[in-house]
Symmetry: C2
Subunit: 609 residues, 2 copies
């Protein structure tokens, strides 16, 4: 850790530094972040892009009285360090969360993880401050990627007319997770390109204000003859139409300029948008060259940026491959992603079938209804989306795709426990919300081969079809359980105890059955629940259901309701995920919720006693 | 029915009329709509505003080959009539749906009911047409109110860059359901005011094109020297920033002008936004004067616009009154609505406490996160929202308000069966989605007095607190069941049969118990389910649960899971809503799903046999 960095015990210490020291501090922060993230993995590129901004924010504003709210939150490492936290081991069980977390610090004002929420939250805090008579500022820091999400426009539409001290910092790096798409991105590039614009305005204003007597008056007159001088003082752009004062563009790696712009924003005492240009991965060559790789990166060698462990195959990459295969013989198959081309394994689809590939930006709601529109037009759309982000499109699945059923396939990626990203990214709610919608079919494959057969069934069927799979890759299965998987597979033994499960948990279940002799019912088509499954289960004295979902609304719960209707009077014991799951290894979380091999084995042994 | 109207058997017949006849047709349509809606009730003001537009659309375009997609869909009555449907008895069991419905006609391309979805759906259909090699147009008709919803920006962000024949008609009447709010509304007013602008452009272009030889060339040159002539030919506005060709504003009650503008849009063969100005309730004085009253109106006297039955009190109006009472003694209570000030009973709150009242527009996602922000700032926000629209904010309740619990109160209005609005508006999914979120508390009062006590508890507690109540008013309860209601009330009889229910169903349950002698467990705090309730239920031979929710994820299902865990071996029978419920009277729907008095009585008698 650098010398200056060691002297920072608290955000207020930043204010004591001079310009040269601030620059040095940024250098030390950069080294610290590269050093620590190279060990644990994490969001590197976004954090390297936001160092100068974060230093400037803490220099100008008085956190936590002035509230700093991070959009998505994966750019908050500098903020964590400057507010007295050690990022060693970040995202691991013993370290900090990789996202803002109020339990860690009073400086983390609001939860983050999903995109485009910060302005809504910040406006709420700002209105609360206004009602309480405080004139402190509230600052939302938003990447340009979040501007493809509709929620931010809902917020801006309200924020512009509010009489609050709200500052929205648009951290524009021409990227969300993948290079940013859409008209808004183009528009931002347009205004971004006006280099030196802010400096010019800044200087002119400065000069005019310095002329004694006429200075302030002249400035005010000029300011008011807006129709004429608009282009000099204020660019007329969408943000101004929305009621904001626009300041920018500002070089986001020049601490001095950032401080001047933020001070101006602070003085204005009404909603201001400060547009800054930054470079993702700034100051670390490997990340600058490949910011997508270093968006969320595994542990790497900091000398050359190479990953410590080669990346391997995964359900996501297989999903992409399989979809490409299918699309070769079916020219109606379209693929849709919400800014996750790489994450969902669709890169190669996007290259092979560009006319049938749609990256819609961070816009899950639009993605879902757009998919329903494609289906209405005769296509076979496949929308690949992380479970946690599908939460955003619940109404669209229900209202636009299900009331008048459209044949839409949803690939639910990162379903179940996700590991280091923690609470905001767990995929444990899709089962309850999807099963509440009439007419939906859900498949949960346990390996790549079943992923292929599930996807095939989903694409051949009708209505809303869901294929749900976890983060990471398949695991090997004890030989006698390895087979072609159908809608269900029943491994009958002489035991009184039946394990029911699906998806990746089947591997541990098979192992537990191997050791204990329990029967296993593996379900591949998990919803709707077919009667045959109930008929099998009701013969047992003890039925154990293991599931990577919250309990309320789980398949286990629906299954139980049907099972008891048949007059079943054995024991029915469900193991699900309970509550929000913080950042920890997948294995640790599984253990904690009794979903690992040992717990399954113990549960069977307990039942057989 | 007018003469011309009688001659229209199909949309193509509109094309045969001349200008004068088109005007006459509009007049006849207006009379027909006023006549029929005065009998059944329905969305009047929006339909009267869209008559000329709809006639022009069917004159210019070739439906259903050209796809017309309605946003929200409550303005589609003229479309229904022109495509050969009779609106007599609309919204009643025997009549048409009040919204587009593909089962009714091939001209109804896409479901509608919720706002801001049309551009996403239309873009999907348009991309499908492009992939299939069709050059037909796809037209989305959107009110300005929908521009406060973020989803439309997600769609526009993608649509602008698409190479599709997409026409977005912005039907601008300065209103959503209430007068429209926010910066976007102001901005639209700004460009709307440029009267004659389209006519000017139209004429100039026309004139230039008529000059032989140089005509077309000159026009093209002028068109390309955009930097110079931009202000003449193309106003530079947000829609153009988003990649659309902008045409407008056009007088939306001048069929001739509309036809010219739409023809131009059709020719352009790339995304076009046609901005038209209309008057809600146009041509019917009572509706023009009070468009909010005539947005969704009950049967009325068409001579003077007076309602046939005086509007009475309701859970919504009581909710507003109670909240006003509480706010008088607690200056931290804030109220939030998403464009439903009147619908949710908050009018008087908005007048008494303007600084603590927020109408955010049709923006449920923002509303929820904004509420969480207010809570983070120390306020006590109460967000009143229809159950069906809360579906939009699932992720915001979970991610922004629950992971780090914020004390937010959600007033879930129109919970349960809603009646004439049908499938898209039923309030039968909030229980499954809300109960899937860890830490939520839900109250379901049965009458106004319990509404007050529930709301009081919700405001005094912590975390996300939900108070859920139906459309309409309270009903009287048999005397021996009328009491102060607590978290639960247990009416024990000597019967072996227990009815469990909550909310308005309690009235019928009490009546059924009165006749059959069954015991009743009325739950007021329905979630989380307390152990005491399970202890009561497990003593019975038969437990009957009646609930206005879909089955999967219902309280009944959660209750069953807990009940069986105790070793209960009686009968547990649940009656919930199954599937999507079409438009019909609440009473009819209740009967259909075995949730009415007779069904309850029969169920008990069956159990006691």
């Amino acid at each position: 850790m650098g010398k200056l960095l060691e002297s920072i015990k608290d955000a207020s210490d930043v204010k004591k530094l001079n310009t040269k020291e601030l620059d040095m501090l940024c250098k030390e922060l950069r080294d610290e972040i590269i050093d620590k993230v190279s060990e644990t993995g994490g969001h590197l590129a976004s954090n390297l892009g936001a160092i100068e901004l974060t230093v400037a924010l803490h220099y100008v504003f008085d956190s936590p009285n002035d509230a700093i709210i991070w959009d998505v939150g994966h750019q908050c490492y500098t903020h964590k360090i400057l507010t007295g936290r050690d990022i060693t081991g970040i995202r691991t069980e013993k370290g900090l969360s990789g996202f803002p977390k109020s339990a860690e610090s009073e400086h983390d004002i609001f939860v983050a993880g999903h995109a485009s929420t910060s302005v809504s939250a910040a406006l709420g805090v700002a209105e609360a401050k206004k009602i309480s008579g405080s004139d402190n500022s509230v600052i939302a820091v938003v990447g340009d990627g979040a501007f493809s999400g509709g929620m931010i426009y809902e917020a801006l539409n309200n924020a512009g007319r509010s009489k609050t001290n709200l500052v929205v910092v648009l951290n524009d790096n021409e990227m969300s997770i993948s290079p940013n798409v859409g008209a808004m991105a183009k528009y931002l590039a347009d205004i971004r390109s006006r280099e030196g614009y802010f400096r010019f305005k800044d200087n002119l204003e400065h000069t005019l204000l310095k002329i004694p007597v006429i200075g302030k008056g002249m400035f005010d007159i000029l300011r008011h003859i807006k129709t004429f001088f608009k282009d000099f003082f204020y660019s007329s752009n969408t943000f101004e139409h929305l009621g904001f004062t626009y300041l920018g563009p500002v070089n986001g790696h020049d601490v001095g300029m950032l401080i001047r712009a933020l001070r101006r924003a602070q003085r204005i005492q009404r909603p201001v948008l400060v547009h800054i240009n930054t470079i993702k991965g700034n100051g670390y060559e490997p990340a600058e060259k490949d910011p997508s790789k270093f968006h969320g990166v595994a542990p790497f060698n900091k000398e050359n940026g190479e990953l410590k462990k080669a990346s391997s195959d995964s359900f996501s990459s297989e999903f992409g491959k399989i979809l490409c295969d299918f699309a070769q013989n079916d020219d109606k198959i379209c693929a849709i992603t919400a800014a996750m081309t790489d994450g969902t394994g669709l890169r190669s689809f996007s290259e092979r079938y560009p006319e049938r590939f749609f990256d819609v930006g961070i816009a899950e709601e639009h993605a879902m209804t757009f998919a329903a529109g494609l289906a209405a037009g005769g296509m076979k759309p496949v929308f690949a989306v992380y479970s946690t982000f599908l939460q955003r499109a619940y109404d669209q699945v229900l209202h636009d795709a299900s009331i008048e059923p459209k044949h839409v396939v949803i690939g639910v990626d990162r379903a179940g426990i996700v590991g280091g990203d923690g609470e905001t990214h767990q995929g444990i709610f899709d089962i309850p919300i999807l099963t509440s919608i009439p007419g939906i079919t859900i498949y949960c494959p346990s390996d790549y081969s079943e992923l292929r057969s599930s996807l095939k069934k989903a694409i051949s069927a009708d209505g809303v079809q869901v294929v749900r799979y976890p983060r990471g890759g398949e695991k090997s299965i004890p030989e006698k359980f390895a087979s072609e998987y159908g809608d269900y597979n029943y491994y009958e033994s002489k035991s009184d105890c039946l394990i029911i499960t699906y998806g990746r948990l089947f591997v541990d279940a098979a192992n537990a059955a191997n050791e204990t002799g329990a029967s296993v019912l593996k379900i591949g088509k998990v919803f709707p629940i077919e009667n045959e499954l109930i008929e099998i289960a009701k013969k047992y004295k003890t039925v154990l259901f293991f599931e990577e979902s919250v309990q309320e609304g789980s398949i286990a719960e629906h299954f139980g309701a049907l099972l008891y209707k048949t007059g079943f009077n054995g024991k029915y014991i469900t193991h699900c995920v309970s509550g929000f799951v913080p950042h920890m290894k997948v294995e640790s979380a599984m253990k904690l919720h009794n979903l690992d091999f040992e717990s399954m084995k113990n549960a069977v042994e307990e039942a057989l006693k």
